[in-house]
Point group: C2
Chain length 459, copies 2
């Protein structure tokens, strides 16, 4: 777009202190683009450019910045500018900022707010940290069922300025009970003299102010909404939640899930800003747990020490065998965890999945087994590392791979069902758990096959 000078040209305008042109250029930018620009500037330039925006644009832009930059910019503002900015912010975004700030600065900034906004912020912060209450804004439009469409439109024109959205208005009774929601389209399409009551169908979805934030994500997704009303336990309308805040919650949840799949406790803070020792503690807990599980491999191997002594070649394939089991197991676990999360597969489908995965495991295991056998056969033509019994070793590796991969696939696909049935989140470290389980049991499969195949010849 025309107004979008590239970053070097913006830096040039800052360097030459040509603030008139700069302000002119930035006036054509959208708040999200301004926020992206601020992210690319040095701290000094950032504060300079931010100072050029009028309060309204500054607040809009500020809401797009991440917490680190919000914090940094707030520190550069005098109390009067900070007060103006904070008073202009949407209450839900302001709550999100306050709940992340250290208590001292939150208290100080809170004292800068107008009495009205202090009251709003106090009331929002009074809800539990993970509740819908922390996501909502009390700025919405409520109408009465005996109003005409014209009355509604006049009311919106007079009082809608501060409402977070005008896409939906809410119908309440005289006690502020929520009795219906009306999309603005229904209002706009109706004749002006029509009464709200005739537009109502009493079918609406609402959130409870004490609901878990994650539940809100599911409700938005199920009903394809962009905004939902929030009621308290008595059914009184107390606020609305918009989809942008819910998407932020969904993104954080996805991060937690992915981090757990990767075998780590959820960091719950950005990687870059998590203090090193906190991060190490969160990573250590899972690593140690998995390590304690893996210690069993040393025990299992100990049982077969004699076999290894008589046929050292057996030891050479241990990493290959257990990693193949682990790979097929975490592959299956990941597929099933995701299918469960998306609802493509239900708990009651476990038997169908079981049969599918047995078939997949046997086929995949046979494929890898054949490659393994071929590798040993080929190698034995150029080297005598495997000795005269190379074919028996090849057979051992091949059959073990069929067994280990089938077993890995099965345990990988069934563990998520078991975890879900027990009421746990199936994503919780399914993949690394499966790998550890399959490592230990894979060794037992391998040495058992070896003892059967090699009996008499080598062992």
């Amino acid at each position: 777009m025309l107004g979008k000078l590239a970053l070097p040209e913006i830096r040039e305008l800052i360097a030459t202190e040509d603030y008139t042109t700069l302000r002119d250029v930035l006036n054509h930018w959208l708040p999200a683009d301004l926020a992206a620009l601020l992210g690319h500037l040095s701290a000094a330039d950032r504060s300079q450019v931010f100072g050029l925006l009028n309060t309204h644009r500054a607040a809009e832009t500020f809401e797009y910045l991440n917490l680190l930059l919000q914090d940094e910019l707030l520190a550069t503002l005098d109390d009067a500018s900070a007060a103006a900015l904070l008073n202009e912010m949407a209450p839900d975004d302001r709550t999100a900022l306050f709940e992340e700030l250290p208590k001292d600065s939150a208290t100080h900034l809170m004292s800068l707010l107008s009495a009205e906004q202090q009251r709003v912020t106090h009331s929002l912060l009074s809800y539990g940290r993970n509740t819908v209450g922390r996501l909502m804004t009390p700025d919405y439009i409520a109408v009465k069922s005996d109003w005409t469409v014209k009355h509604v439109l006049d009311h919106v024109r007079a009082h809608g300025k501060d409402s977070e959205t005008l896409n939906v208005v809410y119908v309440t009774d005289n006690h502020n009970h929520l009795i219906d929601d009306l999309r603005i389209r229904e209002i706009l399409l109706a004749p002006l003299h029509e009464h709200v009551a005739t537009l109502m169908d009493h079918r609406f979805v609402s959130l409870l102010v004490t609901d878990d934030k994650r539940k809100a994500v599911g409700v938005f997704r199920k009903y394809d909404r962009t905004v939902l009303p929030v009621v308290d336990s008595r059914g009184f309308l107390v606020g609305i939640v918009t989809i942008d805040d819910v998407l932020d919650v969904a993104e954080k949840e996805a991060t937690r899930e992915i981090q757990r799949l990767g075998g780590s406790e959820a960091l719950d803070e950005p990687y870059a800003t998590t203090p090193l020792l906190v991060m190490i503690r969160k990573r250590a807990s899972w690593l140690v747990l998995l390590f304690l599980g893996e210690l069993l491999t040393a025990t299992a191997m100990g049982y077969y020490e004699e076999e290894i002594s008589s046929a050292v070649v057996l030891a050479l394939f241990v990493p290959l065998i257990i990693s193949s089991g682990g790979n097929s197991g975490s592959q299956a676990a990941t597929l099933i965890v995701r299918a469960l999360a998306l609802g493509e597969v239900q708990l009651r489908d476990w038997w169908r999945v079981f049969r599918r995965e047995i078939a997949s495991g046997i086929l995949l295991g046979t494929l890898l087994g054949c490659i393994g056998f071929a590798r040993i056969a080929l190698w034995s033509t150029v080297s005598d590392i495997y000795g005269p019994h190379w074919a028996l070793y090849g057979l051992t590796v091949c059959l073990s791979l069929v067994g280990v991969v089938t077993w890995g696939t099965l345990s990988g696909s069934m563990l998520p069902f078991v975890l879900k049935r027990l009421g746990f989140d199936p994503a919780t470290s399914s993949a690394p758990f499966v790998a550890t389980l399959v490592d230990v049991t894979g060794l037992m499969i391998y040495f058992t096959v070896a003892m059967i195949v090699l009996r008499g010849a080598v062992l």
Copy 2:
């Protein structure tokens, strides 16, 4: 809610053929709830219940169903009912259905549409499969800059019925060029006599009809929008995309990413409906690739065959060592892949991450190393499996763990940077790749440490 009988009661009403009561009950349900109900019924009951809904409610409900159920229900309808249903559907949801159906049934269903809807569908299907064109609907409201607010509201009331959303209207010039977007709030808040031109700020974001769907996801996220206009290469307004369709795209993308992280090609179809052989082929490709990598472990172990013969105890800890390296590597890889995806970490931050991860690796490795040493020390008090040199073995395992975990953490955190720098998606199997890499190199670290520590005493 009052109207929500539980599933058994619904089944009872179907069984007793009390369709009047059933229709009454269902009339109080939201389309999303009706869709969920249909998903829980048997095929026969489903078709029965679906038949009770009027065309408008049926179409709304139908849009919430997944492709399998849509397909099944369509097959039970006669041509007249199918035509009524399809003509009533939103064009974007209809396009999504047609593009998934087999060509034959798509052609047949297309012929049932009204001439107008056939034209619309043909034009939407003419865009490439992964483009924004396939997501959009041509039903929007366009206004002119010289209209008054009253004119706009009258126009919306007369022509807005078919528009997918009335939350935003678009300002076009006489040649249908898009020149601005106006949120309905700006219209609703303005005096009736005001002109559209005075409300315009010429700051708008639009998508190109040939843009990749995934790009649309990023634009919606960056600008916090619920609907965006779509223009062709000449800047002509051709349609709008709403956030519900974009969220579906985002969910599919997340699934692809998670499946790749789990070491599988993306299935691109629901787990339950992917044909077994297709699924096995997609899973086999990665498993075989990783297996070929793991074959190097057998080669690496071969080099140390002599050491293993002289000290079989060494073999017992091989699974422990390599899995610890693998676990720490995939943990680090997952954290960094996610941080890169969220923009918390940039390519240029690699050196900072490198130093953080070296520190994490050494600390985590030392922790596991100490546990490993303690385990060997304890065991040697009750068993003589490790012989008189147990302390040397303990030291070997401990030092190797420090080395392998540090190396695993480093490679896990650096590989995503390398992949991203080379232009690949860092999520592409980073975790399993790292595990394979660390398995091979971990063995070399372990045996090198063993040769140094055990020289003279055991080797």
